[in-house]
Symmetry: D3
Subunit: 245 residues, 6 copies
């Protein structure tokens, strides 16, 4: 099973669904981390070029740690726009990953890079298999993959429908996000919060909502061509059968 994660910024995948990625990895899935923007505004001291380099290096380290393939689209941070060029770049990423399951930021998230990443993924997912759309990578052959939207910062405007328990991988998730060390300072400057608080508080809260110590929350994208008769998040792939686990 190939799982493709889209993040708007270099640390988004790790922050909002790093635990789920670790769960998939433990089950033997092949992971792809596609990062839409280069994070080049994420510093108060470094220039755009300098911080972009740092952030790509950090993203690569995190991807290496979890064993994911990094797909770096390199668009300008805070200025992602829906365009013919952007759509082709996203479709190319989908074709590289040839995913069975896709996870992206949701369309109503708080930042235009997040919401537009979610928009393009949601609108263009079926295009990966269309031969007359030309990109570097060849069209996929699989059925249109299912899509889940990840949680938002502090869960504002987001009510999960499906949860993934991350209790036993939480420590590893902290480590995974730790590779994005340039962002700890930045988040503190912009929002007056440590990155760790962004991990632990939501993990405990989403856990409380679903009855386990720690969890991450998701919403399926219901659309023509990819409605659900079953789900493909980690807890849906284990323990099936007549007896409830």
């Amino acid at each position: 099973m190939n799982v493709l994660f889209f993040g708007a910024h270099p640390d988004d995948i790790e922050s909002f669904c790093g635990g789920t990625a670790l769960r998939y990895a433990q089950m033997g899935a092949k992971l792809y981390f596609c990062v839409a923007t280069n994070g080049n505004v994420g510093s108060t001291s470094l220039s755009k070029e300098e911080i972009a380099k740092v952030r790509k290096r950090e993203a690569q380290s995190a991807a290496d740690f979890i064993g994911a393939e990094l797909i770096w689209l390199g668009f300008d941070d805070e200025f992602l726009i829906d365009s013919v060029e952007t759509r082709h770049a996203f479709i190319n990423a989908m074709r590289i990953a040839d995913p069975d399951v896709v996870i992206s930021p949701c369309r109503t998230d708080y930042n235009p890079d997040h919401s537009i990443t979610g928009y393009i993924v949601d609108e263009c997912l079926h295009m990966a298999g269309v031969p007359n759309i030309k990109t570097e990578a060849p069209p996929t052959k699989k059925a249109i993959p299912h899509l889940y939207f990840m949680d938002t910062p502090a869960g504002v405007g987001f009510e999960p429908e499906l949860y993934v328990e991350i209790t036993h991988v939480f420590e590893k998730k902290v480590k995974l996000l730790g590779y994005h060390e340039s962002q700890n300072t930045w988040m503190k400057t912009l929002f007056n919060y440590e990155m760790d608080a962004f991990l632990e508080i939501p993990a405990r809260y989403r856990g409380l909502q679903v009855g386990v110590p720690m969890a991450e929350g998701f919403r399926p994208s219901y659309r023509w061509g990819r409605n659900f008769s079953r789900h493909y998040l980690p807890d849906c792939l284990t323990g099936a059968g007549l007896e409830k686990s």
Copy 2:
């Protein structure tokens, strides 16, 4: 696995989720059909007492056919009210069935018996395990079961989130509903439709929506104490594991 279905009227379970019941039965689950009202207005020629008797007999035949245990609450058709008495009757049914999964009409369905059945089930499900609530049957010991709302007549006001394929059990579903023969005339009188049309057209439409020939649609009830990290409808209980079926 015990599966408890609530129907507002004697033929509702068979009409709106008979295919799903057949799928569960094939998998070896134990089924309970709880019917809230006695259907005593469902005739233009028989008195309330006479038609109620006919409908109970039909419901018992259908339950026997599928191997479900019938729980007959016997409230007056079209006059179900939320009351202390009604709640106790529903809780007693939950305790008889001791369910792992519950399916009920949805709270916004078109008929007060439907909507109030959905309301009481949704609001009182956690009470089955509370010792100080006294009913004939003893309290349950299991965790609060998950609840799914079945489709509405002709799907009005209902957008499914999860589907169950019923292609291979559809013929048997027609047979199952056939036991409620008194209702064919009644539906034709009231809504000018054959009961068969109520089965085939929605089955094909819900199938079209999810990409199989025939399906039934459901919505989970998201509430404190029973959120989801996986689902328990038939297609979620088979074929799990890393490879998508």
Copy 3:
């Protein structure tokens, strides 16, 4: 009465509201079919240029069959973008048709060509009469026309508010869509469905919802400058008066 239909792709108008178009035609309305994209990805064997030519020819034949004037915008399939250029093209189409009623795909439809067509139509409808916006065709003089959104593929995410009975024109609707023969193969490849199933199953389902054998479903666009004190879909134009038909 002039009725302007917008379709994202060459066969969309015929698929989702061909029956309604036939009803309008029977009543003597003048029809305009405006197709936003050239459908140039709709083939697995032909090149973009070749399939675009085929699709335009098919669209013209269908328009001829029903007696509609075809307005072909020719944008690239799957890559419609909200831009100054696109808006002018849409406004020009509105001015050519000078419509009393407009029908378009809805803004939340599943494909970006659909959703952006619906977006531009809905946002720019009042601009057709503004003199300082320059296009080839001159500004319209009529009041801002009313807008209805057509149904989505398999009705996913769409709850109709107003229906049009198509029982007596259904056979002709099948014929009308039949002119788009290149799409039968394509739909089968992409979604594993025959085009006929896309016509008959929803027609019967929407009919079931409103109490006639076959129907198409619509939602009005409620916006400042075009709210409703009456409606202009075919069944609203006949049989008015105190006696209900």
Copy 4:
């Protein structure tokens, strides 16, 4: 055409849709005003019995003025409850009126008498034709009538979907409401407003929204058994045909 209006309190029909009632009356429709409660808390000086008498007399005068038949259910003001008794009283009223169109307060209105009146009407409308439900009046024979919800006080929580122009009957509407003279004082005491302001300000605002000097706003009730292929409010019954009026 018979039109049945339900009001929670003696002056509600006149306040929220008196203009529409006058329009129907002008067209020759037969009107029924069913008032659910006796308005017996609507005074700071009279006892419950005294004010109830006054209000019934006022309601009768208003009904006489417009030529409507008054159906007085007489339940206690502010204490309407959904019960077997209440439902039968409402069903009996439906049978007396044998309506083609029904108008009621909406289910989310601000006062429990309003919301429960809307709830019972909406849930029980199909029961008027069911023979085994016994009331003084015999079952109706017509198809299930269409239902529209009237506007709320000051339009709070209410977005109209369909409007009725009342410009030319507004003066008469003021007169009609004038028969409820005991309520002018009461409204002023409770909400610090003259009744006239409740008529003129919303009339002008709803007019502004739909492009006429004065209007009243409505929402259809979309439910199984009574979806719409056309509408039956006054402006929908006149001027139909291909030419827009």
Copy 5:
């Protein structure tokens, strides 16, 4: 300023808005805690009568600790019903407290005692001042008070619109809830959670959402007769003026 809190069960006010109550108390407001049910199912070992006594004693201790007046309605736990009797009991409580601000559970909360408490408070708040409604306490003279809905257990189905910082009173909130010691065991039995987790995790999460260490979340009830031009939660009552605090 009088602030009236409604709780469905003896520990609900303290759990979901105890911090806000403490903030009001510090500002010198007069507090009233009205508890709708007697909590008589909240034990696995004590009888209904015994546990009801324990819970009333605990509620009184908590109220004493914070300096609130306890209004004990004593309805049966899990069986609150909307009735003439219940409404009068609630109205009497409103008249005892004569509130400027009211806080209640929300109408969509997970438990029928919660949702019906929210329903009755929301629907009947304007009745406290109506002279012809007779209760033990005399009618109020103030304007209709504003109403805020408190958060739900684990925030399921609840998106706050307004927050109250509780950082500096959190320790005291834990103490306040500590008086309901019988419930610690009960919650653990029913939901497998310590009561403390119910306090700390949501406090930190709601804080994260609004940018302070710890907070409680609320939603105003927007209804005719009590819309808002300003708010009355604690943080809205301090630091006003042109400079932002």
Copy 6:
């Protein structure tokens, strides 16, 4: 306190929140009026260049009258597009104003200039303080300001959550809008309404909803980084403290 108003067209701020601007001005706040487009389609007789000049002059006069600083972005009327260029222009305006509170058209407003202005403001507000985003004006240092959406034309699709009383500044608001005299003719041509009706009818209606003679309505924008523990509209800045005014 700096308050930044965004308008899509030269007279929008004055029309939809001119009363609120006057209230802020009376309190001593510093006002900024940022106008996104140059209004160059707003005439049936003048060319684009001519009417744009007229409208800028009118906007400047209105700003002078109230003492606001005018920020004129000058984009083409009816053709505002979300782009890298547009976003930078908006961010520059935010930096010039350095606001504590921002007011903009809402994202679902009826005209693309309105909806896209609302969209860009809502999505980009946090960018004003990001150093690596370069504009003419330097980055702001304040916390992310709170954002309120102003009412829509005739309130279509807009339910206010918070109101500002404008009774005592209404006469002045009429004068303020009077500076946009070119628009009186235009509105009458396009929508058949006098501009005065657009001021008085909604002012009385919003007043009726909140219980004062005249008001304007707003909705907060709830987003990560700017949730609310108190509000900053004029009536929230006065009369705070324990006693309700």
